[in-house]
Amino acid sequence: MLIPCPYCGARDAEEFSYRGDATPVRPDAAAPDAAEQFHDYVYLRDNPAGAFRELWYHSAGCRRWVEVERDTLTHAITATRFAAEGRRA
C-alpha cells in the first residue's frame, strides 16, 4: 500500500507505523469527570467499515505524524495531511 506523505510523497506502508483512529482528543485532566473521559480516550475506539481518519507515523522517513483518510474496506486513500495541521490552536 502506498501512502502519500505530505512531505516525502507516495511511500510504501512499510515505512510507516500505524496508530489508529485520529479523532480522539486528549481530555482535560482538570475536568470533574476526567477519569471517565480518559477511560474513553484510552480504550474506546470505533472500528468502521468504510471511511476512516487515522494516524500513521512516517518512522522510516520524515518522522512526521500523518493523518490519513482511508477506506478500510478498499484501502483507498482519499487525503493525507500533517497531523499537527488540524491541531495547532
Binding site: 500500500m1 477511560h39 518512522s59 512526521r64
Partner: protein, 986 residues
C-alpha cells in the same frame, strides 16, 4: 519417438540430455520437461495423491495437475515441480514422486481398488477414532501414503533476491492481447513492463496455426518483440510470473536461474519482484478444461489445447493414433493440426448434434471421421490403449493411445479476484469472466472471454493505449492487423452420465464425480464447504482445471445454475512460489541486520563473548586466561568495578537531543516527575508512563544549556520513546516550541565506574579540574573536551552503584576513547566488562530494568510512587489514579534472598505463602531478575509481591513449577548493596 520431423519452435541443433527416474533421455533446446518426455514416449509420469493411480501429462503449463516431479537432487531437490513449466536444460534430473517401490509398480495402487471406501472426506471420517491413534498411527501412515514430493533435507544453497520495479503500465501475459497492449503503451513513451510466465514470449501464438497479416503468428511475435526491444522505455521480463496483486503493488517471481543446472556464481535462482505500476493490463489468456467421464485420468488423456501446443510448438505428437472428445469448435483445430502434422486421428467425438458447415467441411476435407452427439464413457489400459464411446444409441470401441478432451476454455481471471472482486458467469461461453477488478487493472483478450484472435489483438491495443493514457501519456491504439479467426462455438457439457469407472473432476486431489454428489448429499451445499470437504481445487494447481466442472456438477445436484452456485475465492499466489523467494536474503545471520557498538572491534580483540540484545550485538563478558566458566569472568568483572575501576560501552542507550524554550514544559508532561526546574549542568532520573498509567520507560535527562537538553532511554525503547515524543509534539501539543532528534547513532557513550574512576577520568579529560567532586557532583552533567580536543559530554551517573562517569564522544571517537581509558587505567587494572556484570550489579543495587518494566507495572509498583508529582498533568497521570492501580494490595517491588544461602533463585518463580497450594488464587507474586551476588556471596533476586514493602521481613516461598524447585525466601528491600547510595554520591 513421437518427435515430429519438422516445424516447431525447438532448436534441433541443441541436444539436451536429461534423466527421468535415472533413465537417460534426449530433448532439444526449447523443450519443457513435459514435451521432452512426450517426445520420448514417456506417458506415465506420476501416481495420484490418494489412489496412486497412474497419471500422465494432461496440461501444458501452470495448470498441470498430474505431472509433478522432483527436480534436481541433494540440497537443490525441489518437489512438486510441474514438468510442463520446467524448462529443459542439459543435465536435468527429474524423479517421479508418490510411488513405491517404482512408478511402474506401486504397492499402494491397491488404494484405487478400495476406492469405494475412499470417498469424500474419507480421512476425516475413518481416522477420527480412537483419537489417540491419530498422531501415532494414522497420520504418519497417511503422510507416507498420500503425499506429494519430498522436500530437500539440506539447507537451500541458492541465493534469492527481492527487488523493486516501477512502471507506468504493467502488461501481464504476452499472447496476442499482451503484445498489442505492450506495443500500444510502449509507443506512447510510457514505461512498460511486459511480464511473461513462459520462457518464450507469444502465448497461444506459439501454439496455434493461424495467420496474422497473412503470415505465421510467430512472425507477428518476432516483429512486435523487435519493436518493443528497440524501445528504451519497455522492459521485457520472461520467466516472470505475476503471482499476486496487493494494495498498490504487484508481486512477481522471476525464475532467473531455474533453466540452468545451477545458477551462475552470485546469480540468484529467483527474484521476488515488487512491481509498482500506475496501470496494469491483464492479458493472461485462458485454459482448456477437462470433461468428467469414466477413466478420464488415464495416461494418454490430455486437454485439447495443450495437445495442440505439443504438436505445433514442440513438434511432438502426443499419440500415434488419437481421438478428440469435446463440446466446442476450438478442439477441432487440435484434430486438424494433428492430421496436418502427419499423426493419425481415429475420430472426433463432439457432444453437440450439429456444428457449423465450415467446420464440418474442414473435417471432411481432411478425411476426419466425425461423430456428433457422441460421448466417451470409458477408457482402458495402464496407459491408454482404447476408448469406449456411444452415439446414436450404439457403442463402439476405438483403439487409440491418445485422447484430447475439452469442455471449453476458462479465462485466467485469478488475479482479478485478489482484491475480493467476484467473477461473473457468462452463459454464452460457459465460463467465469472478470467481475470488479483491482484498482488500476483492466483485462484484455482471452482473459475476458474474447477468444478470437482479432478480438485479442484489438482489445490488447485498446487497453494498452488506454492504460498509457490514464498513466499520463498520449497514446493511440495501433491499427489491428488482419487476423484469421478460428471458429469458437461451444455448447456447455460437463459430465458423461453412466460412465464406466471413476470419472475424475480434480486429478491432483483424486476427487471424482461421485465425491461431489456425496458431499452434496451430506449437506455441503456451499462451494467453499465443498472445497474443504472433498479437497476439490486445493494444492499446487488450485483447481485451475477442476473448478468449473466441479461447480457444474454441484449446481446440477442442487438444481441451481452455475451463476447461482458461485465460485470459490481465488487467492494469491496464482502459482506456487518457493519459500526461498519470500525469504530472500533474510536467512540465518542475515535474518535482520545486527547493530554493533562503537567498541565492537576492541571487544573482539579482548576476547568478548557476545550476546544478542534486541538488534544489538553486545559483549556479555570477557573471559581471561585460566577462567573456565562465565561466572568466574563475571565475578571478576564485578569485583573490578566494586574495588577498582571498570569500563563498559553503554552506547546502545537511546539518546534524544531536545532543543527549544519549551523543552522543560514538554518533559513535565511526559515524565511523572518535574524537569522544568532542573538547573543547567544537572541530570535527573525520570519515569514516563503510557497514557493508560503503566510505566513505559525510564532514564536520565540532562540539561546542557538554557534550551538544550539530552534525554537517554533504555536500549529496548529507544525508537518507541522517540516516536512517543514526536506524537506528543505533533498531535497533543503542537504549540510547544521544541525540536527533537534521535542522536543515538551519533554519540558513543562509555561508562567508567568504581572507586578509581575519578582518578582515571581526570587523566582523560583535557582539563582535569572539570571532573572534580565540586565541579561535577553526583547527577552533574557538563560539556568539555577529552583526548586533546575531542568534544565530549560527561555525566556523573551510576547504574552499578559505584562512583561513576559516563563520557559521550562523537561515535567515531568511541573506540579511541575506550582504548585510551583502558591504557590509562592499566595501573588500576581497569577492566572492560560486559552486560552480565552490569546486570549483576544493577540487581545488587535494586535498579529496575527490562524485566521489571514489563508493561504491567505502575510507577508506584516499582517504588517510584513518591516521585510522581501531584501538582501537574502528565501522560498517564489520570489513569494511574484508577482504584485498581492504587490498590495497596497490588504487587510491589521487593528483593528476595534464600533463607538457606546455598540455594539458587531463578527469575520466573512464583511467590507463595508457606503451606499454600500452588494455585492461581494463592499466587502472591513473582521473581523478575535473579543472580548470585559475588559481592554478598549468595543468591539474590528482584520481583513483585502482593503488598510490596509492607511484607519486608516475611518468609515466603519461591516456587518454580517449571524447574521443580520450592525455596524459602526472605523479603527484603530491593537495594541489597549500599542502600543509602554513599558510594555513588562520593
Amino acid at each position: 519417438m513421437s518427435r515430429l520431423e519438422k516445424n516447431g519452435l525447438i532448436d534441433r541443433t541443441q541436444k539436451l540430455r536429461f534423466t527421468f527416474d535415472s533413465k537417460f533421455f534426449e530433448g532439444f533446446q526449447g523443450d519443457t520437461l513435459a514435451s521432452a518426455l512426450l517426445a520420448n514416449d514417456v506417458k506415465l509420469v506420476g501416481r495420484s495423491f490418494k489412489y496412486h493411480r497412474p497419471r500422465g501429462i494432461v496440461g501444458g503449463g501452470a495448470e498441470e495437475p498430474n505431472a509433478l516431479v522432483e527436480l534436481r537432487s541433494g540440497a537443490r531437490r525441489e518437489p512438486n515441480t510441474r514438468a510442463t513449466t520446467a524448462e529443459l536444460y542439459d543435465g536435468l534430473e527429474a524423479r517421479s514422486q508418490n510411488r513405491w517401490p517404482s512408478l511402474d509398480f506401486d504397492v499402494l495402487a491397491v488404494n484405487g481398488l478400495l476406492s469405494p471406501f475412499f470417498g469424500a472426506a474419507f480421512y476425516y471420517k475413518t481416522f477420527m477414532w480412537p483419537k489417540a491413534a491419530w498422531e501415532k498411527l494414522y497420520e504418519p501412515a497417511i503422510r507416507r501414503a498420500a503425499g506429494l514430493g519430498r522436500a530437500a533435507q539440506e539447507a537451500d544453497p541458492d541465493i534469492y533476491e527481492k527487488a523493486n520495479a516501477f512502471c507506468d503500465v504493467l502488461v501481464i501475459g504476452s499472447g496476442p492481447a499482451g503484445l498489442s497492449a505492450a506495443l500500444a503503451a510502449g509507443r506512447s513513451g510510457a514505461r512498460v513492463i511486459l511480464a511473461e510466465e513462459d520462457f518464450a514470449f507469444g502465448g497461444r501464438l506459439l501454439s496455434e496455426r493461424t495467420t496474422i497479416n497473412d503470415a505465421a503468428p510467430t512472425e507477428f511475435v518476432d516483429k512486435t518483440l523487435a519493436e518493443l526491444r528497440a524501445l528504451p522505455n519497455v522492459r521485457l521480463m520472461r520467466r516472470t510470473s505475476v503471482a499476486a496483486i496487493y494494495d498498490d503493488c504487484y508481486a512477481a517471481v522471476e525464475r532467473v536461474g531455474d533453466h540452468l543446472r545451477t545458477p551462475e556464481k552470485f546469480q540468484p535462482r529467483q527474484i521476488l519482484w515488487r512491481i509498482t505500476a500506475k496501470r496494469a493490463v491483464l492479458a493472461a489468456g485462458a485454459l482448456d478444461r477437462p470433461i468428467v467421464f469414466g477413466g478420464n485420468n488415464r495416461p494418454g488423456v490430455m486437454l485439447a489445447a495443450p495437445a495442440q501446443t505439443y504438436i505445433n510448438r514442440f513438434a511432438v505428437a502426443p499419440a500415434k493414433k488419437m481421438a478428440v472428445f469435446a463440446n466446442n469448435d476450438a478442439a477441432w483445430t487440435t484434430a486438424f493440426d494433428a492430421l496436418d502434422a502427419g499423426a493419425e486421428v481415429a475420430a472426433l467425438i463432439d457432444t453437440r448434434d450439429t456444428v457449423s458447415p465450415t467446420l464440418a467441411q474442414a473435417a471432411q476435407d481432411r478425411g476426419l471421421r466425425v461423430i456428433l452427439g457422441g460421448e466417451v464413457f470409458a477408457t482402458k489400459g495402464k496407459c491408454l490403449d482404447s476408448i469406449e464411446l456411444r452415439a446414436a444409441g450404439k457403442t463402439e470401441i476405438l483403439q487409440v493411445d491418445g485422447l484430447a478432451m475439452s469442455s471449453g476454455f476458462s479465462p485466467n481471471i485469478a488475479l482479478t479476484c485478489h482484491h475480493g472482486g467476484k467473477p461473473v458467469w457468462n452463459e454464452a461461453i460457459a465460463a467465469f469472466v472478470p467481475g470488479e477488478c483491482p484498482p488500476g487493472l483492466s483485462v484484455a483478450g482471452a482473459a475476458t472471454g474474447a477468444y478470437s484472435l482479432s478480438d485479442c489483438l484489438a482489445q490488447g491495443a485498446a487497453q494498452g493505449a488506454q492504460a498509457a493514457t490514464e498513466a499520463g501519456f498520449k497514446a493511440t491504439a495501433p491499427d489491428t492487423p488482419k487476423a484469421e479467426d478460428a471458429p469458437r462455438a461451444l455448447k456447455a457439457f460437463w459430465h458423461v452420465e453412466n460412465s464406466k469407472g471413476m470419472a475424475f473432476v480434480d486429478f491432483q486431489n483424486d476427487v471424482c464425480a461421485k465425491d461431489v454428489v456425496l458431499a452434496h448429499k451430506e449437506g455441503f451445499v456451499s462451494v467453499e464447504h465443498l472445497k474443504r470437504y472433498t479437497t476439490l481445487g486445493m494444492a499446487t494447481d488450485q483447481g485451475k482445471l477442476s473448478n468449473v466442472p466441479g461447480l457444474a456438477l454441484m449446481a446440477k445436484q442442487s438444481g441451481k445454475t452455475i451463476a447461482e452456485t458461485g465460485t470459490t475465492m481465488f487467492r494469491p499466489p496464482w502459482s506456487p512460489v518457493a519459500l526461498g523467494a519470500f525469504a530472500g536474503h533474510h536467512r540465518a545471520k542475515d535474518f535482520r541486520p545486527a547493530r554493533l557498538t562503537p567498541t565492537h572491534a576492541l571487544a573482539e580483540e579482548l576476547g568478548a563473548v557476545f550476546v544478542e540484545a534486541g538488534p544489538w550485538l553486545r559483549a556479555a563478558y570477557f573471559p581471561r586466561k585460566g577462567e573456565t566458566n562465565w561466572k568466574q569472568s563475571v565475578d571478576r568483572e564485578v569485583r573490578a568495578v566494586r574495588e577498582s575501576v571498570g569500563v563498559i560501552d553503554v552506547s546502545t542507550f537511546g539518546k534524544i537531543e531536545l532543543q527549544g524554550p519549551d523543552v522543560g514544559k514538554l518533559l513535565d508532561r511526559i515524565y511523572i516527575n518535574t524537569f522544568s526546574t532542573l538547573p543547567i549542568g544537572k541530570a535527573r532520573y525520570g519515569v514516563m508512563l503510557r497514557e493508560d498509567g503503566f510505566v513505559m520507560d525510564d532514564g536520565t535527562t540532562a540539561r546542557l544549556g538554557q534550551d538544550r537538553w539530552i534525554m537517554t532511554t533504555t536500549t529496548a525503547n529507544a525508537a518507541k520513546v522517540s516516536q512517543h515524543l514526536d506524537f506528543c509534539l505533533q498531535n497533543l501539543w503542537p504549540d510547544l516550541d521544541v525540536r527533537m532528534a534521535s542522536v543515538s547513532e551519533q554519540w558513543a557513550q562509555i561508562a567508567v565506574a568504581g572507586p578509581r574512576s575519578r582518578g582515571l577520568i581526570a587523566q582523560i579529560v583535557d582539563d582535569a579540574s572539570a571532573v572534580s567532586a565540586e565541579n561535577l557532583p553526583y547527577m552533574g552533567a557538563l560539556e568539555t573536551t577529552v583526548l586533546g580536543g575531542v568534544q565530549a559530554r560527561i555525566f556523573r551517573l551510576s547504574f552499578s552503584g559505584e562512583l561513576g562517569f559516563e563520557i559521550a564522544v562523537p561515535a567515531d571517537q568511541g573506540e579511541q576513547l575506550a582504548r585510551k581509558i583502558l591504557e590509562t587505567g592499566a595501573e588500576w587494572d581497569a577492566t572492560f566488562y560486559g552486560l552480565e556484570a552490569l546486570a549483576v550489579m544493577r540487581i545488587e543495587k535494586g535498579h529496575v530494568s527490562g524485566p521489571e518494566l514489563n508493561g504491567q507495572t505502575t510507577a508506584a509498583d516499582l517504588g517510584f510512587g513518591r516521585m510522581a508529582s501531584t501538582k501537574k498533568d502528565y501522560i498517564g497521570a489520570v489513569m494511574a489514579r484508577r482504584p485498581a492501580l492504587t490498590d495497596p494490595d497490588r504487587m510491589g517491588f521487593v528483593g528476595f534472598k534464600p533463607v538457606n544461602p546455598k540455594e539458587v533463585l531463578r527469575a520466573g518463580a512464583h511467590v507463595l505463602a508457606k503451606g499454600a497450594a500452588a494455585t492461581t488464587e494463592n499466587d502472591l507474586g513473582y521473581l523478575t531478575s535473579a543472580t548470585i551476588s559475588p559481592t554478598l556471596g549468595h543468591a539474590i533476586a528482584l520481583g513483585f509481591v502482593k503488598g510490596g514493602a509492607a511484607r519486608i521481613g516475611e518468609i515466603l516461598r519461591a516456587w518454580d513449577g517449571l524447574r521443580g524447585t520450592d525455596i524459602l525466601v526472605e523479603i527484603l528491600a530491593p537495594a541489597f548493596y549500599d542502600s543509602k547510595g554513599e558510594r555513588s554520591n562520593g
